[in-house]
């Protein structure tokens, strides 16, 4: 089990595909330092090995160094998932001393003009590249991650080159997921089929060429797939997500699903939430599955795909993920691509 700690929804960027919910949590409602430290210890005791410190922008937490130290002391591998525009050398040194294992910095595009437009912040791209250099020069492990969509997918070669030049050991190229802000902006973000085909071939060739030098993880887009992905590795199987106000969820978009009560970790221990909460048990395993999932030989490969996508596209969170060609609703994926003709997107804002 891995812990995904969404420490805050505060963020200096305004990316239109943000996975945070449309209704963002204010700073005053966030968990206290002591709450997070207890959650780290309880998750580690339950068998968690890694914590992903995310947000929003985790550096917006004034106590981020204490949180890294606490997670490290609990025995967790600590991964900071950051926009990095506010990362100073002194803060990075303090984080490294506190036991930070890995830094993941987001890039929005290969050039400053495109990247700053998506991020909604002038100068963001240049600051990210400087931050990447700071991380690399300290010998810390660096991953660059890029969410790709119609506006940056044609510069995938340049993005990969940027990754190589930055000295990143790993690059994550992930197609935007259409939940939260991404769903609100879907018509402006979904790529064209020809863009996706080209990108898949470019990334495949680059991954082979760079083998042993820079690893590339490529998350393919559902809208052009015939089979769904094992979203979150299967509902409540591998990830324990905690929202800024301390709600435990099997996935960061799970609160879009009506009728699920998510445990409040201010009052509920992590083990109880993970093992007993109805929200975690609801779609865990295969017992909840309808046909065609129930009799499918891939049911323990993809675990029925994504519950939030099923809800968003079919109105039923317990339906087969429409990304699957066997779903009676599969045509909705192609329809969404056909409808994606808008250029203006709505920046993520409080």
């Amino acid at each position: 089990m891995a812990l995904l700690a969404e420490l805050t929804h505060r963020c200096p960027l305004a990316c239109p595909y943000c996975s945070n919910p449309l209704e963002l949590t204010r700073a005053s409602a966030e968990l206290e330092t002591a709450d997070w430290l207890r959650i780290f210890r309880e998750a580690a005791a339950l068998g968690a090995m890694q914590v992903h410190l995310s947000g929003g922008e985790p550096l917006a937490r004034a106590d981020i160094v204490d949180l890294v130290a606490g997670a490290h002391e609990a025995g967790l591998y600590t991964n900071l998932i950051t926009a990095a525009v506010t990362l100073s050398p002194g803060r990075l040194d303090a984080l490294a001393s506190a036991g930070l294992d890995h830094v993941q910095i987001s890039l929005q595009d290969a050039d400053a003009a495109g990247a700053d437009r998506i991020a909604g912040l002038a100068g963001a791209h240049a600051r990210k590249l400087r931050a990447a250099e700071m991380v690399r020069s300290r010998g810390l492990a660096l991953t660059l991650n890029v969410v790709v969509h119609r506006h940056n997918l044609d510069r995938i070669e340049e993005l990969i080159e940027l990754g190589v030049a930055s000295g990143a050991g790993r690059m994550e190229i992930a197609h935007a997921q259409y939940h939260g802000w991404g769903l609100a902006n879907r018509a402006a973000l979904l790529p064209r089929a020809d863009q996706v085909r080209r990108a898949v071939s470019v990334v495949g060739a680059a991954a082979a060429r760079l083998r042993g030098r820079m690893a590339i993880d490529h998350v393919l887009p559902d809208h052009f797939a015939a089979r769904p992905k094992a979203c979150m590795g299967g509902w409540a199987r591998r990830f324990f997500v905690v929202s800024p106000q301390g709600r435990a969820m099997p996935c960061h978009a799970a609160d879009t699903i009506p009728g699920l009560a998510f445990p409040d970790l201010r009052r509920t221990p992590v083990a109880e939430a993970w093992q007993e909460a109805e929200a975690f048990r609801r779609f865990r395993g295969t017992g909840w599955m309808p046909e065609p999932c129930r009799g499918c030989e891939r049911r323990e490969v993809d675990w029925g795909g994504c519950r939030c996508q099923a809800l968003a596209l079919t109105g039923d969170a317990a339906a087969t993920d429409p990304a699957c060609a066997l779903s009676p609703q599969h045509h909705r994926m192609a329809e969404a691509v056909g409808d994606a003709t808008v250029d203006a997107f709505r920046p993520r804002r409080f």
């Binding site: 890694q50 010998g139 492990a141 790993r170 042993g212 993880d217």
Partner: protein, 93 residues
């Protein structure tokens, strides 16, 4: 092809840790966990950037009471695989 004189070490962001809950050694890497078997762990534990590949083969062979030639192909294959996945890096000659 990995040379005998290479000195593999854990890549930045990679560390081995004992997983008490599962009673096993685990390799922690960015977004990845690998549970090596005992034979792989015997190799990994020697990837410290000081020992050469040749020395690693010799030590592991001695520990298992085998000749280095009997294990060398398997160990080379394992090291190359781990390098390709970014778990190990070459500490240089």
């Amino acid at each position: 092809m990995l040379s005998d004189g290479a000195r593999p070490r854990l890549a930045p962001g990679v560390r081995t840790q004992h997983d008490g809950a599962r009673g096993a050694w685990v390799v922690q890497a960015p977004e990845r966990l690998v549970y090596p078997d005992e034979a792989a762990m015997a190799v990994l534990a020697r990837c410290d950037g000081r020992r050469t590949v040749e020395e690693i083969v010799a030590e592991v062979a001695q520990e298992h009471g085998e000749s280095p030639t009997a294990l060398e192909d398997d160990i080379h294959e394992l090291l190359e695989e781990l390098m390709a996945h970014g778990v190990l890096t070459d500490g240089g000659p």
